[in-house]
């Protein structure tokens, strides 16, 4: 179900939305996407290029682009910015050491002209791990409060258990209208 149920809620007239999933390597982008599509997540390997998932239902189409997060790949992110309707930014909430790095990457994305005004769903992933920071702590660390030029939302989630993923996407779909 997952993505399909959400799709039915899309009300926009062009009936097509393009989502981009970004975040550092190992943050869980591909796992989140697979879990949403009800696929097995035990076998994900680092994404070298990108994965595209297109979901169609009763005339609606959701294109989700999942792009690898390794440092060497990050410069290529910008090739995918064009006509993005919504951005999903995935954080490994258990990796405190890399919060600053992911924050710097996010700040760069926020300055991208092609992504200006694009709503952001921040997924505070890996909440099943004991040392995961809460969504509020992540919001503080990332300084999300200084984002004033667009709507944003943060959702605690776990690609492993599926917790929170549906709510996160539901907000995004609601926001895209």
């Amino acid at each position: 179900m997952g993505l399909l149920t959400l799709l039915r809620k899309l009300k926009r007239s062009d009936k097509e939305a393009r989502l981009l999933i970004l975040g550092l390597d190992n943050s869980g982008k591909t796992s989140c996407l697979r879990k949403l599509a009800d696929e097995d997540i035990s076998q994900t390997t680092p994404t070298q290029g990108f994965n595209i998932k297109t979901v169609m239902s009763s005339g609606f189409k959701l294109n989700v682009w999942d792009i690898g997060g390794q440092k060497a790949i990050r410069p290529y992110w910008q090739n995918y910015f064009e006509s993005t309707d919504g951005l999903v930014y995935v954080i490994d909430s258990s990796d405190q050491k890399r919060l600053q790095e992911t924050s710097v990457e996010l700040n760069q994305l926020l300055e991208e002209e092609k992504l200006s005004g694009v709503p952001i769903m921040v997924l505070a992933n890996k909440q099943d791990l004991l040392n995961a920071l809460s969504a509020k702590q992540i919001a503080e660390e990332l300084g999300l409060h200084s984002i004033r030029d667009r709507t944003w939302q943060i959702q605690a989630c776990s690609a492993k258990t599926g917790e929170g993923l549906q709510q996160g996407m539901e907000w995004l779909v609601n926001t895209l209208g």
Partner: protein
């Protein structure tokens, strides 16, 4: 020609509107997001709990109001104060049908108005969900929230009963518009001094945010340099070992 005249008028009108920023506060499930969609004239008021930030601009008479909508859940309220510096006034939404949470609402309300960046601004309280059978009338809500204690803390306050959600085909609850009018006029009374205050607070905040961002960038760059250095040293060590192994004894 006609369109030229129209443009002339509309641009003139735009300039005439006074830009005002107002923030919604209140516990989760109070109806803030629903209220904002209603104010925007939307009839579909399906919401999901907010754990983030949204911004909508709505023209109200001679005011161009930017509304901030933030989540009210317990874990998220701590972020509200980051926005106080930018606002002219606030709307506190309370669920009038949820008696059990009025104490919690009172705590949250007073924590907000006591914040140095909030104190002295105007506050509208909307006693929402009056359509519900079990809802408590506004004057009782006012007592339970001890609103009389607000006098020394805000420029002006006012409480109105209302419903963000109306039965189908019924027009928007007029109390909401009335409240917004009251709030904008009350903001107007101290507009000049408020603007100066906001300008200063926002400048400080922007400066602070910039410093924080630069600091992060510096730390990340430093770490990267260190990692690269380590990798290089490792590489050199390996090369040396190799050449040592290859060189004749």
């Amino acid at each position: 020609m006609l369109s030229f005249i129209r443009n002339l008028f509309s641009s003139k009108n735009e300039k005439k509107e006074t830009p005002v920023t107002v923030m919604f506060i209140g516990l989760d499930n109070a109806g803030k997001t629903t209220m904002l969609s209603t104010i925007q004239g939307e009839t579909d008021t399906n919401t999901t709990p907010t754990i983030g930030f949204d911004k909508k601009r709505v023209v109200h008479g001679k005011y161009n109001i930017t509304y901030f909508d933030l989540g009210g859940s317990k874990g998220f309220r701590g972020i509200w104060d980051r926005y106080y510096g930018s606002i002219h006034g606030a709307i506190f939404v309370v669920d009038s049908a949820d008696e059990n949470r009025l104490e919690e609402a009172k705590q949250a309300l007073f924590e907000s108005v006591r914040h140095p960046k909030f104190t002295g601004k105007s506050l509208l309280i909307l006693a929402n969900k009056q359509d519900k059978k079990e809802s408590i009338p506004a004057h009782e809500i006012a007592q339970k929230l001890e609103l009389d204690k607000l006098k020394s803390l805000v420029h002006r306050y006012n409480i109105l009963p209302c419903s963000a959600i109306q039965a189908q085909n019924k027009p928007q609850d007029p109390q909401i518009k009335k409240g917004v009018t009251w709030l904008s006029e009350s903001i107007d009374e101290q507009f000049e001094s408020l603007n100066k205050r906001i300008e200063k607070d926002m400048r400080d905040e922007a400066e602070q945010a910039k410093l924080e961002r630069e600091e992060k960038r510096r730390i990340v760059a430093e770490r990267k340099a260190k990692e690269e250095e380590l990798a290089k040293a490792e590489e050199e060590k390996k090369l040396k070992e190799q050449s040592a192994a290859q060189s004749p004894e």
